[in-house]
Symmetry: C2
Subunit: 332 residues, 2 copies
């Protein structure tokens, strides 16, 4: 959570004027995103509105860290593509020249539609079911999306992160964790089912990245890890993100069953995908355990950004690696 850059109201007003969205009436820096600065922006709206009656809202994002500008056309066009196909995804607002993003102080900024909804902390099975459906719908709606992008957080990156942390670095977090990674990483890599159906995936669909009103999904957001990869891996990531207590200590079978059933209502899994899910879930848990471990090792304990506990995903990894738990993916 952070706003890394201070932007004065005058600068923001000029920026907003480059878009056909009316005049700036309010702006609040919002505490979301760790790679971006974000502002909730209000304007009088495209057709104007009485002064003081902000009628249109947007998220203004400044890309600060980790996101490559050359990837922005993929991310931002994907939002447009999905939104046009009825997915609850925020549109990218193009500027008056049609650009998807602009440069401000040398940094890329994009104006993105605001969507209502809140991110749930303790999902219900009904909510997990709706998220499963929305994930599958998104994957299908992206079938004719022209863009493609390698998964920058894929298997090669897991190896690099593990190697950069080093066995000693991982052991400093927890000795058992280092042993778990040493055992699981090669096993998952060697068996990875590369031939499964693939397409555009979200790859980071945590509850924070889903807006809901009750059991309705009103927004899928934060597509900055979206890439071209296995559909079933996306489901595995979402499973790891939604079906456990935050600390990874408690698995919730009702959430798991609801998530998978919702997904399959829209896109039934093939037998090969279903059989691969335990392994894909081990990969998903490794991915977040290792990115968190890298951040843990490389972030001072008193830094501005809160470090997320790698062990929360080490516990999920242990769960998925236990053959007794493969049944959770066996289907109805």
């Amino acid at each position: 959570m952070a706003v890394y850059t201070h932007l004065g109201a005058e600068v923001l007003g000029q920026l907003v004027a480059e878009f056909d969205v009316g005049e700036l009436t309010s702006v609040k820096g919002i505490a979301e995103g760790i790679s971006n600065s974000n502002w909730l922006v209000e304007t009088t709206g495209k057709d104007g509105a009485p002064s003081g009656q902000g009628s249109a809202r947007f998220i203004l994002t400044m890309y600060e860290y980790r996101i490559e500008v050359e990837d922005l056309p993929f991310f931002l066009s994907l939002l447009d593509h999905l939104s046009a196909r009825g997915c609850p995804v925020p549109r990218t607002i193009h500027d008056r020249q049609g650009n998807l993003y602009r440069l401000l102080d040398g940094k890329a900024v994009a104006l993105i539609e605001f969507l209502p909804g809140v991110s749930v902390s303790a999902p219900t099975p009904g909510q997990a079911h709706a998220v499963g459906r929305a994930l599958a719908q998104m994957q299908l709606a992206a079938a004719d999306f022209a863009g493609s992008r390698d998964n920058a957080m894929g298997r090669a990156e897991w190896q690099r992160l593990a190697s950069e942390c080093g066995a000693a670095g991982l052991a400093e977090i927890d000795v058992g964790f280092a042993e778990l990674v040493a055992r699981e990483l090669p096993a998952v890599l060697v068996d990875w089912p590369d031939g499964l159906p693939r397409g555009t995936i979200h790859a980071d669909l945590f509850p924070d990245n889903v807006l809901m009103l009750g059991s309705q999904v009103t927004g899928l957001i934060d597509f900055y890890f979206a890439c071209t990869d296995l559909f079933a891996y996306d489901l595995a990531v979402t499973h790891a993100a939604w079906c456990f207590s935050n600390d990874g200590k408690y698995f919730d079978p009702a959430l798991s069953a609801a998530l998978i059933a919702g997904y399959e209502e829209v896109r039934p899994l093939s037998d090969a995908e279903r059989a691969a899910l335990p392994l894909l879930a081990r990969g998903a848990a490794l991915r977040f355990a290792l990115t968190r471990a890298w951040d843990w090792v490389n972030t001072p304990a008193d830094a501005l950004v809160t470090r997320k506990d790698p062990l929360a995903f080490a516990r999920r990894l242990e769960f998925y690696a236990d053959p007794a738990n493969a049944a959770v993916f066996a289907g109805a």
Copy 2:
């Protein structure tokens, strides 16, 4: 800028249900306030609204540091009082039992009306004029406000802060600054014009605490230093806050003239007040130089909160202390 506390959507939904404002449809933690956590909250509105069409917005504030709960009735009732008298001040939303604030996780939280407008970074004379008018209107509108509160950032506090920093602490910031405080603090205290007209003042009307649309003031916010003190001191604080470059190096005579003229259109200064303004402005500059110095001395350089430069107000203090500059308060 910070959100110190994580509140889940479910907890926030339950909290909002304690107010007659409809159902929660959106919540974003906002990067404002250093003593509070703040969220921009949207609801369906008192009379309901179609799902997903958030129609009412509020600022939810959780009081984390520095603000005493026993002071909240003063601050929050003052907002209601001023708003009812037509001042551009956000109303406090009372809960269903009529309470001004509630307790959540042992901390006080208040729901406050959202007002449109942006905080300007580089004010124009027209904007300074409008702010002068709004300040005087606020002071007059508070004349029949029943509450009163000592200025917790008044002269006794300046002495305490200077003494806690110590001459050595101040000299560590800057040797000239320590000498300036040693010279100015006793001089200002001995001549303080205690008998001038007094009432409820804002006492912290920086550009950050004023929302504007063009040259219209749409919001005076953040009344958490409001207190019972000299009206002209409030004008002096506002003068120090609006009429210089941020670093205090450049005084803008056009902003100064416009601010004072705007104020006097609504509440003309007495001769005694006008004569006292140079001294009151030295006091205002001392107040912010010393609170910033204390924060500087007591905040690690790498802390979450950005330290504000005390010398920006030391420079203002030098400006005000120069008899040649007293003419800026001499009036038209």
